[in-house]
Symmetry: C2
Subunit: 334 residues, 2 copies
Amino acid sequence: MPELRKDPVVGRWVIIATERARRPSDFAAEPVRPRGSVCAFCEGQEAQTPPEVLAGRRPNTEPNGPGWTYRVVPNKFPALRIEGDLDPAGEGLFDKMTGVGAHEVVIETPDHGASLATLPVDAVADVLLAFRERVLDLKKDPRFAYVLVFKNHGEAAGASLEHTHSQLIATPIIPIMVSEELAGSAQYYALKERCVWCDLLRQERRDGRRLILESQGFVTVAPFAPRFPFETWILPVRHRAAFEDSSEEELRGLAGVLGDFLHRMNRLLGDPPFNFMLHTAPFREVQLESFHWHLEIIPKLTRVAGFEWGSGFFINPVPPEGAAEALKATAGRS
Amino acid sequence: MPELRKDPVVGRWVIIATERARRPSDFAAEPVRPRGSVCAFCEGQEAQTPPEVLAGRRPNTEPNGPGWTYRVVPNKFPALRIEGDLDPAGEGLFDKMTGVGAHEVVIETPDHGASLATLPVDAVADVLLAFRERVLDLKKDPRFAYVLVFKNHGEAAGASLEHTHSQLIATPIIPIMVSEELAGSAQYYALKERCVWCDLLRQERRDGRRLILESQGFVTVAPFAPRFPFETWILPVRHRAAFEDSSEEELRGLAGVLGDFLHRMNRLLGDPPFNFMLHTAPFREVQLESFHWHLEIIPKLTRVAGFEWGSGFFINPVPPEGAAEALKATAGRS
């Protein structure tokens, strides 16, 4: 029988559709393997991007020239614009404001053929440290309420360039998905005086059926009510609301954990397109005991269709217990 | 400058990304045109589907044989199962219940090459009347709280069969997207003693910039804060909470309006894949003055990526005023 499951934080129900159950090998996602050779994100092509706001550079190299290990640049086609004021306005029933925000691209490596799963742990750690540095910097801008760090990997997951990169978008409003998590977490905290994510971690570590990996102070887990097949969350074991409060040591640990997970996912599912999204506390949130930052990873294996868009229910043909078991049994990076 | 716009009912913000503005001809969606010839939904193949629960039949034809104009059959691979009890249960932090529900397919025509845009108005009306009849029947089952009527057209929009069809899924829980609309509508009603959708219709008819068509008692409009390019809503002008309370005459009017819109959309965007979803009052909702049923149509032209999945913001490169203007200028069905 199919099962209806509810996410304990946001209350979203999903359908685990066992009648449509599929094994990892049944997903025919186009493998993501870079085919081109030189693009605007490659070394030597720095003039093709806006000037860098941050970079990992070898000694004696100039900004916006070769000699870097990662670069952060403004998005050439930003979803939101950095200049201007919010200028909120009404129009009868409707509300709008100027699309002010920041939209940056983190070019994770000069190597066109590499990916976060194949980069050395130190290089992945540098990318995570760059996220932290950019978040801390964007936080200073009083116009912004939140910054979403995310990654689109592969065309089917929305990437328009195949050279591995991630993105940051700072928004003047707390995104609704983060608001819902904050509200659910606060409600639980009001009831129990405990962080729902800490409780969730305790339960998953004890139960074990959805646990993929526990290492370096991080838990990699298949959520109880996943929207997508093989959806995976990585959370710090220690309670922490804001990603940017992580220490360098912690982020170096996370780099190993993330690389290991992506390696398993690629082996099991054949280099699928995927997204990841970082959920962290908003910039000016005082109530932090209730929230716990985490990284959500979703391989792009199924199509979202009318039922999902109309209902908000997601139909997931892979029970998370099966996904966790398969990912656990797959060799990680040695 | 890009613009942030808020949906007046659910409070969802979208980004109208003018920097990424695109014209209708810039969307390279694969046109949806049936290529196969005979499938399980064709006349003469009735044995390949579960037995019909409803059909439009010529006199003296037998159920589950040829001679039909439309057929409603249970889905062979249902997302939810019709048998059993809900059996709600907890598991520590988590909640679940049995995946009980109904999942039906409306085969809209025996003609493998037809679509809702090319069918005669009478045939489209029969499909809408079949929706109404099935909703009224499923409403009698005390286990169900809601039924979502929807359509996936084309593989990119999630259709696994190209023969034109729509679907109904009855769920034991009110879907979260409908709950959010109900809550937003109720909040507005509590404040103003008016239906927010009626107010929205009044404003859009007076303003005109997002109005695509007004005909037969229905308004076809590009919403102020659309998630997707060329997203379109069709609403009855007269206040009505539940779709299934529509008269036959009203649904015949809707058939003409829907066919006309799809014809324009296909002309303008080259037979794109699309979804539609019907939002109506839940089965056992008493407060009906605040809600107004409507049909949401979304052509599948862009990819949903990490930013959308992580934030709930949608980036839409086509302002609805431009979409409405282009659709209005395109010839409808004569």
